[in-house]
């Protein structure tokens, strides 16, 4: 089975480092149970994972980390009753990374990361996830320059969450198992970035450029997109931090099109007041506002959501949210989030209200559990077919 390809890669890496004496290893065991309802429908999702990892230094300035994941997943449809959808086993590579840091002298350094590593743009709205590739960052004084390149085709489609064009939609809907049905459409992702630290007192400026190149020549359409993302991030006093970003998307399929997105965040953090954190934020992904023109709905490289409970993709939508959390005592965190979800271009722009609460408890460094729940109340005037949806989730993690 082709799914064995990635664990085999991890096994090879493990065998290469096994003779080393300076080797650390361990495992995570994760359990997640989610009871959810949508209108009259009721379902239970169960997910269990075991992640085994090894870590070892490579020379004085770099280290190797490799992990492999076993996963069980099941959806149990309680009402209306139906046969469960079970995935009894799924093996894949988790984070597999050779990372390093090297000082280049006075106020200069370079750091790198190669393997299956996290890729994320400044906002986390254009790219956010583990992909196979490499990234590097050069720091010279107060300027940081970064570059990255990655390939998406070896990542499970459920993990990659790439929904850019019709080929991705077809792959997403493909219920066959194995290669290539289980994997994301092959795309090359690349980025360049620059960050200017404290260009103004207490404020950083930056610009990131991301692009994805469609390598699926057998698909029905070739869609390439590029993103330019300027941002500013700063602090006001000791407790307030804020950020503002925008993203312009340009694409060719082969017709030229463009799209826009933006976001802002203001965060108040008062560690001395029970670790209080209050975050007000908003994110907007533009839609096809010129009806048939060159403007289209914003499509990020990896799909994201604007709601915690409801389904609101980051495309032709906007949210305005308020999040608050406190830590009454060590290891315990309690928080809640309220978000209004909008579609600015629609006749009735209000889509619904998403409200959730969460409690997480980590009594030890190797044991944690969290309970969360919430409800999405849709605007049934704008969408008469929509219904109230809710979920309660319980998760726990043990680190061996």
């Amino acid at each position: 089975m082709n799914r064995r390809y990635l664990p085999a890669l991890v096994a090879v890496l493990a065998s290469l480092v096994a003779p080393a004496t300076a080797l650390d290893f361990g495992a995570f065991i994760l359990n997640g149970t989610r009871l959810s309802g949508d209108g009259a429908a009721l379902s239970l999702s169960q997910e269990d994972q075991v992640v085994a990892w090894i870590s070892m230094p490579v020379g004085a300035s770099s280290s190797l980390y490799a992990s492999a994941r076993y996963q069980f997943y099941g959806d149990f449809y309680l009402s209306p009753s139906a046969a469960p959808a079970l995935v009894p086993y799924l093996f894949t590579a988790g984070r597999v990374e050779w990372e390093g840091f090297h000082s280049l002298g006075d106020k200069s350094s370079v750091k790198w990361s190669i393997g299956r590593v996290p890729f994320q743009d400044f906002s986390g709205r254009v790219v956010n996830g583990l992909l196979d590739g490499a990234k590097a960052e050069l720091s010279v004084g107060t300027v940081q320059a970064s570059a990255a390149v990655a390939y998406t085709g070896l990542t499970f489609k459920d993990d990659a969450k790439i929904l850019i064009d019709a080929d991705d939609e077809a792959r997403w809907a493909d219920t066959a198992a194995g290669w290539p049905s289980d994997f994301a459409v092959g795309r090359l992702v690349a980025s360049l970035g620059a960050r200017f630290i404290e260009l103004l007192p207490k404020h950083d400026f930056g610009l990131e450029a991301w692009a994805q190149f469609d390598l699926d020549t057998a698909g029905t359409v070739i869609t390439n997109t590029q993103y330019a993302e300027p941002y500013i991030e700063g602090r006001i006093g000791r407790a307030l931090r804020w950020r503002l970003w925008a993203a312009a998307e340009f694409g060719q399929d082969p017709s030229f099109f463009y799209a826009m997105a933006a976001g802002a965040r203001l965060r108040l953090a008062l560690p001395e007041v029970l670790g209080l954190r209050v975050t007000a934020s908003s994110a907007w992904a533009g839609g096809d506002y010129d009806a048939g023109g060159v403007m289209r709905a914003f499509k990020p490289i990896t799909a994201g959501s604007l709601a915690m409970i409801g389904s609101a993709a980051f495309s032709d939508a906007m949210n305005v949210s308020l999040d608050a959390s406190v830590s009454p005592w060590r290891g315990l965190s309690v928080g809640s989030n309220v978000a209004g979800v909008l579609s600015p271009g629609a006749a009735d722009p209000y889509l619904g209200l998403d409200a959730s609460a969460r409690v997480s408890f980590a009594p030890f460094n190797d044991l944690s559990a969290s309970l969360s729940g919430g409800v999405f109340m849709p605007n049934t005037v704008a969408d008469p077919d929509s219904s109230l949806s809710w979920s309660v989730s319980l998760s726990a993690q043990v680190r061996l």
């Binding site: 300076a22 650390d24 230094p57 009594p363 030890f364 460094n365 190797d366 044991l367």
Partner: protein
Amino acid sequence: MRRIHVLFGLLTAVAAGAFCQSNEFIDRLLESDSMTTGQAAYLVLVASDNLGEDADEARAFELLENFGWVPRGATIDAPILIKDYSYLLMKAFGLNGGMLYAMFPGPRYAYRQLVASLVIQGRSDPDMTLSGSFAVRILGRVFDVKGISQ
């Protein structure tokens, strides 16, 4: 900033002979690329008030044996591994560990605990040896965790 004060205070105390048999010990410790088990025993047992400052490394190692904290197969002159140093710190200062440390107290989970609580910072692995200066920095952070510096 407080950590700097802790380290400064620690080094000042050591230099002044407050809990050190002689300045020779701290000189040798800070110059050492690989701290020995004997040095670790003296440093930790004196800093945790388990041993008088007028003792020596041999007496500290002997006390370590009495406590049953000597790393498996270690000798007084053998370089100590960071996981064994972690276990020594956990036991000597009575630090609380994680669930696995409570079930299986030993160097492996002692090291994990000190990494998780940021007492051990930077690139490390459990089987590495450590320099004297690195050991003193770790000890300073243990003081932070225990609130000894406050």
